[in-house]
């Protein structure tokens, strides 16, 4: 059965790589994001690499009105509908501390926007009894810390949401993969120094594809983040609160 991926946040570096790989496997892609001109180039790229469907739709996680056209389009595409969510935003924590109103946007981008979209999409997938949802969270969601705790808390909410969604959709043959990437070499991290275990986007995309094929529930990518976060989660709060990591 042909598969088409709805890709939210399609202008991000990892999403672009994911769309490209999906196209190379013969899957269709519907690219959803804010920069339509840029997504058109990615759609052309996907078409050249073999995607039978390569479309662009404007999407803004903070504007639920923009969800409707995508859901309508998804309902019309035949075959398996899958979704991959790469949206999220991480303004520097200092900026948020100075202007708490920024929090709403971070939560909308990283959690409530995608959750609302996926909840609306779920019935279509349930009805077709197939498909995969790839939800990209972050290792930052595993524990709130000094440097980015608002972003981390939004991703933590998204992780819990995905876990519940997996529980629900598994009953109808739809699989949900929670992806927790560490730091990835993207436009967002370019020029930041001392990033630990910085991974090339192709590595992360490859890991995601493997997780999709193997129906993995939770993926840490690169893998090193699994032991690292396992230890970080074990540190007692009494000690953790004094740490700078």
């Amino acid at each position: 059965m042909p598969q088409t991926w709805i890709i939210l946040g399609a202008t991000s570096t990892i999403a672009r790589g994911f769309a490209r790989d999906a196209a190379g496997r013969g899957d269709g892609v519907v690219l959803a994001g804010r920069d339509v001109d840029d997504m058109k180039a990615t759609a052309a790229d996907c078409a050249a690499r073999g995607a039978p469907v390569a479309e662009v739709i404007a999407f803004d996680a903070r504007d639920p009105a923009s969800f409707e056209p995508i859901l309508k389009r998804a309902a019309k595409i035949e075959g398996t509908i899958s979704a991959a969510v790469f949206v999220g935003s991480m303004p520097p924590q200092e900026d948020i501390d100075a202007d708490p109103s920024l929090i709403d946007g971070v939560i909308a981008d990283s959690y409530t926007g995608p959750a609302r979209f996926l909840t609306a999409l779920a019935p279509i997938m349930e009805e077709r009894r197939s498909g995969t949802i790839v939800g990209v969270g972050s290792v930052a969601g595993d524990r709130g810390r000094l440097g980015n705790y608002v972003y981390g808390s939004a991703k933590a909410g998204f992780h819990a949401y995905l876990s519940g969604l997996r529980n629900r959709l598994g009953r109808s043959g739809v699989h949900v993969v929670t992806v927790k990437p560490g730091t990835v070499d993207t436009a967002m991290t370019w020029g930041l120094d001392k990033l630990p275990f910085l991974a090339p986007p192709e590595k992360v995309v490859g890991d995601i594809m493997k997780a999709v094929d193997k129906k993995k529930d939770v993926l840490y990518t690169p893998f090193i983040w699994w032991p690292v976060m396992t230890i970080i989660k074990l540190i007692p709060e009494r000690i953790f609160k004094k740490m700078q990591i």
Binding site: T11, R16, D38, A44, A187, G191
Partner: protein, 436 residues
């Protein structure tokens, strides 16, 4: 963040640079960078010397702008972003029967780098340089995209192809891909005993792809001995078992004492049976034999290495022979040495190719090698040939511009689009290419 302060080098690792590098992923981001402060574009830094360096200044890494913008399966016309790599395009399009029209010896070179150096491949004698297959370019300027072709902004077009990035970042290009007969290479290898025989075979070769590996350590009667490779694309009938085995070129351990190289070269030469042989290879194995050994340039150690590459007119073949004799006598060459017949095809004012013979030889970076290369450069000038900007690290100001007879036309077009020298690189400064 937009800028990253970093140390970086060219492929030969002799020249180094430190400076701020941006790596935009979208056309809008590239435009914003240029509007802020124009800086030279760089690709995968597969140029050996300092063409891709801007020490103390800014540079724009184009490698994340690598998407296919359109492809017509009927005509083979490709529109692609300049950061796309030749090898990646080969992988995408070979299965549907289309190849990049010209492929340099590494698949990691980007479209932007291939245009800015007007690169040549093993099919140069027939197909000409990369730029001969480019029908349109889009440059990014601080004000937005600007299109150039043979019809529109023709001087800018000819100044950009082979133009060392001096007309500003190339955003995308339309490239006519080449129809392939199949998705493997059928390669005939033949032992060649010496110089005269080699030139004769190269002159007479009517294969689409022809290249010579040369033993740059063999002297006397054996001077110029090597292996001639002639190849065509093929498909279908070829049994997979006949796949050619690759001899890893790092076999001598890169200790590279003259005796080791001599022994390795002799064995490499004998590997091909006297009667010759035909093997079938995957396309990328034939075109990019060294790409599987990632970062092989590091095998030369911290001090890096040089490649000398010149082209001389047919009539100066004897002068080239004398140059090879000097190289062989020095015992300094590495096993990587290539001899090829070039056709007249070139597409830019500053393009390297000319009808004649091109010789390329790698040398570990030592004082004696630098001295030898300087001599070879002088000999190239005397032979009315050219030195290749993609390889040179050693020439001084004024040494090379005289070899490029359309330098003045290039300079005029470059000055029109970049009057302040914002796109200068370490290479153009070293060779003073931007001053008349």
């Amino acid at each position: 963040m937009t800028w990253k302060t970093m140390d970086y080098t060219g492929w030969g690792r002799v020249h180094r640079a430190n400076g701020d590098v941006a790596r935009p992923e979208r056309a809008s981001a590239l435009k914003a960078l240029l509007a802020d402060a124009p800086a030279p574009a760089i690709g995968m830094r597969r140029s050996y010397g300092d063409a891709c360096l801007n020490d103390g200044g800014r540079a724009i890494d184009m490698t994340r702008m690598d998407r296919v913008l359109s492809f017509d399966v009927e005509s083979g016309l490709l529109h692609v972003e300049a950061g796309a790599q030749i090898g990646a395009l080969l992988k995408i399009f070979a299965p549907s029967g289309w190849l990049p029209p010209v492929m340099p010896g590494t698949g990691f070179a980007t479209i932007g780098g291939a245009i800015a150096m007007d690169v040549h491949g093993k099919n140069h004698h027939g197909a000409g340089s990369f730029g001969c297959h480019v029908s349109e370019l889009t440059l990014m300027t601080p004000k937005g995209p600007k299109v150039a072709s043979a019809e529109k902004n023709a001087n800018l077009f000819k100044a950009t192809i082979g133009g060392l990035g001096q007309t500003g970042p190339i955003l995308s290009a339309k490239v006519q891909m080449l129809k392939a007969k199949g998705d493997v290479m059928v390669v005939t290898e033949r032992r060649v005993d010496g110089w005269d025989e080699f030139l004769g075979l190269l002159d007479r070769s009517d294969a689409t792809y022809t290249v010579g590996w040369i033993d740059a350590t063999a002297r006397g009667d054996q001077l110029g001995r090597g292996i001639l490779e002639e190849a065509e694309t093929g498909g279908g009938l070829v049994p997979a078992a006949k796949r050619g085995k690759r001899i890893p070129m790092d076999a001598p351990g890169f200790t590279l004492s003259p005796a080791v190289v001599r022994t390795f070269n002799a064995a490499y030469w004998r590997r091909v049976p006297e009667a010759g042989r035909t093997v079938v290879k995957p396309i990328d194995d034939f075109f990019f034999p060294l790409d599987k050994i990632h970062d092989w340039n590091r095998l030369y150690g911290k001090s890096g290495f040089h490649q000398f590459q010149c082209v001389v007119p047919i009539a100066a073949a004897d002068k080239l022979r004398a140059m090879l004799d000097r190289i062989a006598g020095s015992g300094l060459a590495s096993p990587l040495a290539v001899l090829k017949r070039m056709g007249p095809g070139r597409a830019g004012f500053m393009s390297f190719p000319m009808e004649g013979y091109t010789l390329a030889v790698d040398f570990p970076n030592r004082t004696a090698a630098e001295r030898l290369i300087k001599e070879l450069e002088k000999a190239t000038a005397e032979a009315e040939g050219r030195i290749y900007f993609a390889k040179d690290s050693l020439a001084s100001a004024g040494d090379l511009s005289g070899m490029y007879d359309e330098h003045a036309q290039w300079l005029k077009a470059v000055k029109a689009i970049d009057p302040d020298g914002a796109y200068e690189t370490d290479l153009t400064r070293r060779l003073k290419l931007r001053s008349a």
